[in-house]
Symmetry: C2
Subunit: 207 residues, 2 copies
């Protein structure tokens, strides 16, 4: 396969980062439905943009109804969903942008696949791209009590099948780069600060 | 499908464009193998980056071996290849970036699909995103004479099947936004200028 593809010297990652004054990376949020992932992702994106950085959120709204609209919720389709999201996030990271993904991504194996894909060098560099896993951690009972869209209720009633936490497992990350305990009413700003502090500490927010 | 996805108010396209001082769009190059697409795409990306704009090339190197590595060269897979590329380009455009795609994309129906996908509003705006089709036009005999990788030769020998121009049709665009006649030794700079002039004329290179 892919024998009829030719190579053309493009812009190296270093050239691009220098021009953009930014390096690329992927911030991978994972957690139960109603854990607060999307709220955190939106505010994180806002703060990164305010710092003059290029950042973009990949979430159900712009991925599930577009790129992955051919995929359902079977195990195979969920795997493929995560694989494609990881590949797209990596393209954004490769473009010197910060990709923020906001998906339950309940399976450790899928998240590990996403991480490993980022370790594969891109055509414009000999290295992969940073992958920052952020565990947005709430107890199931807290998420279920929030239930802003009544999804847990529907899952309990069996209206929604294979709902993470109810009828399908959530495998918590073992060594996430950032672990946000979001059970109590943690202010959004504090949650986002945990991520930003990590990124700053690792010098990831500068070229 | 996709019933268990919730909405979270994000950054609007206008907010993002204002912050980034840039609007997003997709520049879709199409043409025969050895027409000069990739060379033009690389130089175009370089000039856009030099102007302080965020731009990123999607091509065989970073898409075929990543996101679309599960796809072969059957008709169905070629269609799906183009569909995914179009969706990813649109995500870049939605992020206030300039996506430059560089694929033969020989079928009018596929390119029309790509264009139509861009007309669908994104979650952060009520409109779609600009789609600029660039026809890199060479006569088959010119492309075949160039044949930098010996692909036309292999296609003539039957080693490569369904090779565009030899054993599979190339359907020329009827109304491309930019039409580059690349038969003679057109300097790369002139080819790129045609595209930049079009974008400037349409005010597409400013927020």
């Amino acid at each position: 396969m892919a024998t009829n593809i030719t190579h053309h010297a493009g812009i190296t990652r270093k050239e691009r980062n220098d021009l953009r004054k930014q390096q690329g990376l992927t911030i991978w949020l994972t957690g139960l439905s109603a854990s607060g992932k999307s709220t955190i992702a939106v505010e994180l994106e806002r703060q990164l943009l305010a710092r003059g950085l290029h950042a973009y959120r990949l979430d159900g709204d712009n991925v599930r109804f577009g790129l992955n609209k051919d995929l359902g919720f079977s195990d195979a389709d969920r795997n493929e969903n995560i694989r494609r999201i990881a590949e797209v996030a990596k393209l954004f990271a490769d473009s010197s942008s910060i990709a923020i993904t906001s998906f339950i991504s309940p399976f450790r194996a899928d998240r590990d696949t996403a991480r490993k894909l980022h370790e594969v060098p891109t055509p414009n560099d000999t290295t992969g791209l940073p992958f920052v896993e952020v565990f947005v951690d709430v107890d199931l009972k807290v998420a279920e009590a929030r239930d802003p869209k009544g999804l847990y209720k529907k899952a309990r009633e069996g209206v929604i099948k294979e709902f993470t936490g109810i009828s399908s497992p959530y495998e918590a990350p073992e060594k996430p780069e950032v672990h946000i305990k979001n059970n109590d009413d943690l202010p959004i700003a504090d949650a986002v600060k945990q991520i930003i502090d990590y990124l700053d500490g690792k010098q990831l927010l500068k070229a």
